[in-house]
Structures are given as structure tokens and as C-alpha cells.
Symmetry: none
């Protein structure tokens, strides 16, 4: 693959490299020295996010949130984090084939710095992809939006790179015959998939779901490709690569993680023909915020809604709440209040008028859903 002369000090790449389908212990930059130039097809990197947490956070029920406070996620400054990022990105760039691509995942704490550094180093961004979590942790203090997604960057090693793998047709077929979008919906890793130690506690604080890695590898690799994970952790990349008939190389510093990952990967049974089965489709019907009806113009602030028989009347307000006399709240709360009940499905209780007939606002929700069908 690479002429011996090009490597000088490094040994010649054997027919089946020692490092193939194994986890190299060590710091990511140093450990990657074991790999020849241009030797991997795809990289998946889940670097430390550099969370900057102050003190402890409690849930409303007073229980403590088990935060990511591991030593490996601590950096002295943005500058230190940038230097770290630059180093491992450069190491990755060296071992990546010209036809290869790299995926990096992060949150708003680090992904902007990583993305900017990737551009600085000449990587060419192909997409940013949003992993929407079906079950994210709530915001406990009510001071922000629920942080319900993470961001992936997909890039080629340079702007001129051609010939990278993108299984466009497979992705489209897996997505009800429309193009796969840049926003993906998956649950977080939990339940039996979550690797736990003998003490029953999670082995790794940030284990990624196999469904996420599966879509990444199915979209951007071919069977037999070599996938590198420079931050192997609990080994999700290796497990999914093996199952999908791809080779893997992992790098990891902590022996505990290596032990768990090797055991996990050893238990994986590679898929046969089912590998070609399309990815599971959409979940249940998407949630539609009542505010969306106003934002889309189906209702306007000031419009009146009524109960099914018209004996209760409420006014739509700009922020997506309903008001009646002194009471105000969500469509559900106000529906409950006017009926003197504990709860109420506002979608079926509140009605609007059209052509002299009363219809539940659920009808309008149906229109929104119809307009976004197929997403």
C-alpha cells in the first residue's frame, strides 16, 4: 500500500498488520505512530468534550447528577484544549487515506473549537450531522433549553479529495426512498447495551449507542474497510465494525476501558447477508408543539378556541399559551382548568371554527405532520 522507502524508520506494512482488529494502549498521538501513512479508510473520533462544570447539580428530587468529572476531561484552558485537538487531528490526518473520511462527535462545549481547528488543518467539511436524542437528560433548573442533541462533523482530508465512500443509495433506501438528512434520531445508550462493571455501575461515562456508529459505518465505509477510533473507550466502534464486517483499530489510554472493550468485541458475532438489511425507519409520530400552529400561520394570536360544545372560550396568545379571563397556560392546562379536571388533552378538547364548523385543533396538528411527513 505504501512503499517501504516512504516510511524510512517505520517497519514495512505486513500483509495483515499487527494492529488490525486490536486496541493499542497509549496516548492517542503516540500510539498512532504504530500505523503507517494512509492506512485507514475512516476515522471515528469521540474526543474529550472539555466540560467545565462548577459544583454539583441536583435533580428536583434532590438526587445528585452523576456528572462527567473524569481526569481525562480536564483541560487547563481553551489553549490547552486547542493544542490537544490539533495534535490528535494531525496524527489522524497522517494515517487517513486520501480517499478516507473522518467523523468527530462533540457538544457545544467543544465542537466549535474542533470544527474550526479541522478547517485550519485543511480538512474539508462534507456535512455536520445532528444526533437528536429521543431521551436526553432534562434541564433541571429551567434556565436553558433542554440540551437534546450532539453534533457530528464529517470531513475529507482536504478540499481536493475525491473518491471517498458515501453509500448514497443505501442511505436513501433506508430512509423511505428519500435522501438521508443531516439530522438523525436515536436513543442514548442505556439498558442492556450499556456496559456495566461487576459493581453494576457503567464502565464508561459517555458510551455511544451502537445505532449511531452503525449508521456512520453503513453510510461511509465498505465491507473490509479499516476503521480507526483514536478514543476507543468502551469499544462501540470496534463492536459495530466487527458486526458489519469492517476492520477496526482502537487507541485507548485506560486499561479498564481496554479490558471492557476487548471482552465486548470478542462477544460480537459478525453479520452475514443481513448486513444489507435497511436501517430501521422512523419512530412514532413526531411531537408537534402547539406554538408550531401559530408559527406556521394555521392559528394567529388573538384567535379564539372553544370547547367541543362551545361553552368555554379561550384566546390564543403569541407565545403558544391559551388565556381565559385570569387563567392562562398550555392548551392542556387551560382545558383542565375550565373543566375543573386534573388533566386534559388540549389537542382534542379545543376547537377552532372553519366554514361555520367546529374542528379540534388536532386537525391542524395533522396538517403540520402531513407537511413534515417523510422526515
Amino acid at each position: 500500500m505504501v512503499p517501504v522507502s516512504a516510511l524510512s524508520a517505520r517497519p514495512a506494512h505486513p500483509a495483515r498488520a499487527q494492529w488490525l482488529d486490536s486496541i493499542i494502549k497509549g496516548d492517542c498521538v503516540a500510539a498512532l505512530e504504530a500505523l503507517p501513512d494512509h492506512s485507514v479508510d475512516v476515522i471515528f473520533a469521540d474526543p474529550p468534550y472539555n466540560l467545565q462544570l462548577n459544583g454539583v447539580l441536583h435533580r428536583p428530587d434532590q438526587s445528585k447528577v452523576d456528572a462527567v468529572d473524569d481526569e481525562w476531561d480536564q483541560f487547563a484552558s481553551f489553549e490547552a484544549y486547542d493544542a490537544f485537538t490539533r495534535a490528535w487531528l494531525l496524527a489522524c490526518k497522517r494515517v487517513l487515506k486520501p480517499t478516507g473520511t473522518i467523523w468527530v462527535i462533540g457538544s457545544y462545549h467543544n465542537i466549535f473549537r474542533v470544527g474550526a481547528k479541522m478547517q485550519d488543518l485543511g480538512f474539508w467539511l462534507l456535512n455536520d450531522v445532528v444526533w437528536r436524542k429521543t431521551n436526553p437528560m432534562p434541564n433541571f433548573k429551567g434556565r436553558r433549553f433542554q440540551n437534546a442533541h450532539e453534533t457530528l462533523i464529517w470531513a475529507s482530508p482536504n478540499a481536493e479529495a475525491r473518491g471517498y465512500t458515501f453509500n448514497y443509495d443505501a442511505m436513501k433506501a433506508a430512509n423511505d426512498d428519500v435522501q438521508m438528512r443531516s439530522d438523525w434520531l436515536f436513543p442514548i445508550c442505556s439498558g442492556s447495551e450499556r456496559i456495566k462493571g461487576e459493581d453494576g455501575k457503567k464502565v464508561h461515562p459517555t458510551q455511544k449507542p451502537e445505532a449511531l456508529l452503525s449508521r456512520i459505518l453503513l453510510s461511509s465505509t465498505k465491507p473490509g474497510d479499516v476503521v480507526l477510533d483514536p478514543f476507543m473507550g468502551s469499544g462501540t466502534t470496534g463492536a459495530v465494525a466487527k458486526r458489519l464486517g469492517r476492520h477496526f483499530v482502537g487507541v485507548e489510554r485506560e486499561q479498564d476501558y481496554i479490558d471492557a472493550a476487548e471482552k465486548r468485541i470478542a462477544a460480537v458475532e459478525p453479520l452475514g447477508e443481513e448486513m444489507l438489511a435497511p436501517l430501521p425507519g422512523k419512530k412514532t409520530q413526531p411531537r408537534v408543539a402547539f406554538l408550531s400552529l401559530i408559527e406556521s400561520g394555521l392559528l394567529a394570536p388573538g384567535d379564539t378556541l372553544t370547547s367541543p360544545k362551545g361553552d368555554h372560550v379561550a384566546v390564543v396568545r403569541a407565545d403558544g399559551t391559551l388565556a381565559r379571563a385570569k387563567d392562562a397556560g398550555s392548551i392542556h392546562r387551560l382545558g383542565a382548568i375550565v373543566q375543573g379536571q386534573e388533566s386534559c388533552n388540549g389537542w382534542t378538547f379545543w376547537h377552532y371554527e372553519e366554514d361555520g364548523n367546529r374542528y379540534p385543533i388536532d386537525r391542524l396538528r395533522g396538517r403540520i405532520r402531513a407537511s413534515i411527513a417523510g422526515i
Copy 2:
């Protein structure tokens, strides 16, 4: 548009500033000199995306894609774009109130650079928010995922900033009584909302949907707040701000855009105050001292209160404290003590008995509040 005197001396903020509810013509950094320090509550910025397009792109039917190739979106290098970004962010930081927040929207071409620079300048990221497009442009070459979203960054001016506006309760009520997430779904701006010139062509290449601005302003501003848009374009921010009873200031270089925006904003009819009243959350309800329950006769000294399950008992004292054995203190302190916890909401923890049932004393507080409201 801007009095000359205001540029040099920067006089004290007049009762109603000249620049309020107007569009300042000029380069964003220079024009913002007209505004005093700490004079705006929220900033929405839609800066040039620095798209790097090579050649023309055709659809499968051979029609040409009308790309963003305007002069204002051209930068010589990442360095030039970074310098530009730094300059306008600094100008924005100066005029932003300490309790204010800033929104910036971008795509993968620029948002990573912008986000990193924001962190470098000390902005504290509160959320990244994903605008998922219901109807994004397809990928015509089948070489990438359909680019179906854009990214917004919401930030405060520094990590220590407190007191910014987030209408948590309104957002939650508008979203079926669950927290508003960081992924929002909207159509792109098209149809009658899209501003078109006499030639029938779109006036601005990247006009944002009003629904997007509406959610931004409803979530992070109060009626009467001042909203700055340093890249005003076709004036979406001004139009939505006016409709929602917020003040706006715009900055824009191109006269064509200013003309279109001013005409557009003039046609906007503001919503009535009753449509805009913020949903009162629990935090805004009047504070009731526990002592008031005793003073009003709802509880009497010597009454006993219990924990929800009845396993802890405490006695009400005349001064509005609770006592149990040797311990005494506020309803909150004693609730924390008996549970061995750091803190406790005594209103929901302590219960009283009525008709053989246990109710939280919060129920009595509700009666006090109801009687206050009736005054």
C-alpha cells in the same frame, strides 16, 4: 439616520433613543458606534456564511441553482473571516447589557469558526440550537447527506452573567407541557412571506423565516426589550420584534435591503398587549411567608405538620418556624434536616391533615395567593 453628535461624544442614553426602531445604514462595526454601552437586551446575528462555492451547480433537470454568490459573502481566507467575526462580536459585546444574550445563526461553513471565536472572546454558551428544515434543498450530486439544518448559538456575554431572560414556563407550556428542546422544526422562508422585488425575484438570498425569529424572541426577551440585528438584511428581526411588542435596531450596508426592510416593517401590525403578556411562572408569583398562614388562621401555633408519608412530624410555632425535638428552623431548613439533605422545599414537603387526608402546605399558600389576587 444617526445624529453626528452621537458618534463623537456618545451622549447619555435619551429617553427614547434616535436609533430605536430604526435601521442604521453602514458597516456593522462602525454603525454600532452609535449605540451606548449596554443598551440592547438581545442580539440576533445572521452573519455572512462564507460559503466557498466553486463553479455553478445544476439540478438533475439541468436548471441552475441560484447560489449565494454575493460580494458580501466573499472572504479571502479563514483568517480574514475570523478577523471580521472578531470585530463584529466585540462591537456586539460592548452594546449588550450584562443581562442580555446573543443569538448567532450559521451553517457548517462558518458556525464552528464563529462559535470558537465567541468562546475566545469570553461569551458563555448557553445552548446550541438546531433549526431542522422541513423543506431543505436536496443534495443534487448524491455525494453527501442532505444538508437539512442550520445551527444557532445562544450565549451570554460572560460565564458569570446572571439574570438573562429565558421564558421557561411559556416555552414549556407551548410545547405540550414538556421542556422546549434544542432542536426546532420550521419550514424555510418561502411563499408569500418571502420578500420579492418588482422583478418578482427574491430581494435577499438568505431571508430567515419569521417563525424562527418568533421563537427566539418569545423565549429570550420580554415585551419592551430592545433587539439588535447587526446584519438586518430583509428585516425579519424588525418585523417580528414589532409584531411581538419588542423594540428593534438594525444595521445594514445595502440600501436595497434597507428599503425593503423598512417597507416591510411599516406594514406590520403589533399584537395587542393581552396577546403578549408573559405567562407567569411560579418564580414570578408573589412570595408568601409561612408566617402568613399562621397570621391568617390557616394554621395555628401547636399544629403538627408531617412529611408526605407521615414518618416525620413537626410542630408549628408562633413565630413561623417549625420544631421537632431539638431541631427548629424554617419549613425549608427543618425539612432538609429531617431528611438529612442539603436543601428542601418546605412548601411541598410538609403536609397538614384535613378531612382525614394529607395535603402539602403549598395548598394553603395557594389560598393566600388567591385571596391576594382578588384584592
